[in-house]
Assembly symmetry: C2
Amino acid sequence: MRTANTFSSLANHQIRLAQRPVGLPGPECWSHSTEPVTEPVAGGVLVKTLALSLDPAMRGWMNEGKSYIPPVGIGEVMRAGGIGSVVASQNPQFAVGDVVSAGLGVQEYCLIPEASLKPSGIFKIDLRAGSVNQWLNVLGMPGMTGYFGLMDVGQPQPGETVVVSGAAGAVGQTVGQMAKIKGCRVVGIAGGAAKCEWVVKELGFDACIDYKTGSGAVRAGLKEHCPGGVDIYFDNVGGEILDDVLAKIKRKARIVICGAISQYNNTTPIQGPKNYLSLLVNRARMEGIVVFDYASRYHLAVAEMAGYLKDGRMKSKEDVVQGLATFPETLLKLFKGENFGKLVLQVASA
Amino acid sequence: MRTANTFSSLANHQIRLAQRPVGLPGPECWSHSTEPVTEPVAGGVLVKTLALSLDPAMRGWMNEGKSYIPPVGIGEVMRAGGIGSVVASQNPQFAVGDVVSAGLGVQEYCLIPEASLKPSGIFKIDLRAGSVNQWLNVLGMPGMTGYFGLMDVGQPQPGETVVVSGAAGAVGQTVGQMAKIKGCRVVGIAGGAAKCEWVVKELGFDACIDYKTGSGAVRAGLKEHCPGGVDIYFDNVGGEILDDVLAKIKRKARIVICGAISQYNNTTPIQGPKNYLSLLVNRARMEGIVVFDYASRYHLAVAEMAGYLKDGRMKSKEDVVQGLATFPETLLKLFKGENFGKLVLQVASA
């Protein structure tokens, strides 16, 4: 084990929440800080950040108010899940060199006290099952969200038609590929012709609708690609697109509410789905998913999907941006729909 | 069996849809017609209307466009379910004097040809199980809607908190009383202090919130009467009230979408529930119910609730208005929230 001297010479660069955003989070929302890296005390570990997961949910964490998780406090290091390498350990369960998934925050080093070393908050990952980036994507939280949202809430049956918005994102790519493996016809919704082409060619979706081609594009696309209607809609975006799909659902359809990225930066109230009575006419169901509820079964989903990654039935596509300092602008790629694949911030090499 | 002469001297007064309404259906939407009563031909029956069920769903049938059932055509007798007495029969399955539940329409006599005598469209009722009015209420379509919506979609557990809007109506009274029998705490939502008091005293709800006392009344009422949150919301009204309840649901809550009477007379687009992301945060489910799906199990629900009516654990409360000709104005009572109990139009005596 290294001595305390080794670390005290290192700087931990951090990005903190400076103020709560109104609309898109601009540079004024962030402050940059530097702290010395300190050795863990008895029971704790020190983790060096390798890569961070950038997710739409981060926008929600920046808001005040009750949600499924408390907001990030003003002045606190921004919350982020990531993969890191244990560089010092005072805990027998973790050895230097272990690679872990944990809530590291947007910083280069994360000191985790013993009290926070809960199985739900930190776990070792096996790089034989997938790379660091894959562990942030299909094998990570977004993958778990897509897997359990589709399988448990959506309950896909062979031959059904599954539509997923945010198709090129981390959750969307998991949902679409899993649905294909389960024998469904899969139609993505994404922004831009290039991204839609990528979704079909790289991820193997049957079709992908470009919502950016103008008003009515999603309705027209659904009419073309889902002539018999939609059995499952996995919604990552909310807004008009949710209404467009509601108008096309089949009897006993399932709508999985995973997110509403189109609404997260609203400065006006959230737009409710005005076509929600389609649920009545079609005896359909709209249900929310929060991934943490499935923690006891993550290992099963990881094992299944790692198998698909190995045998080539599934791909894990990431959009990797380098450098902690780029965090504020990189995060905006999500809300502008610029990422092709799961957005990963690479902070250091393994 | 009577001869054809008996009936040809009788007049059948009818109310027809003259034009599609914009907003509340005024008198201009209706026309009155009179036809001679005719004898059924081979296989058919002639039914004399005793009482008709007046339901919020009627407003939907007056609109053009796709729904779970085709719209009533312009010039057609207005669709209505009712109870009638068979006064002539050319069908061995029905005898003169049988009392039946059927889609009689807003008219004094209904001639039903053999092709329409399907078990799903007409069935004999047993007046020992309940009165004519009870067969339009708790033992009829609204009762079946409330029963299966609550039991199959809502899945109440003892000790849970159930909120139901339109509490004084036919569906609402069934839902609330069934939920009480199943061991739930039941809070109604209705319009006016008198009606709310009636819901608590006559129907035995634990509390009833008066939505008419002003903006914020439902939020305040939910805070007072559902301090631990809402497990099941049975929604008959939609609009602001649905949003207010969404803000108070508990984890794994179930919202049964049965109707949206607050929106049926809108001349602007339906108001979508802007708090729908509460489904996500709370891993909750919103699901539509159409009663026809449960036709094969109606007899079971009738048997169960007829037992409760007999032993006094359940009441069937009707608001009875006399005379076919009053139909246009009587229907408006529903949309103005003036009915205390299930609205029944009595057309003739048994």
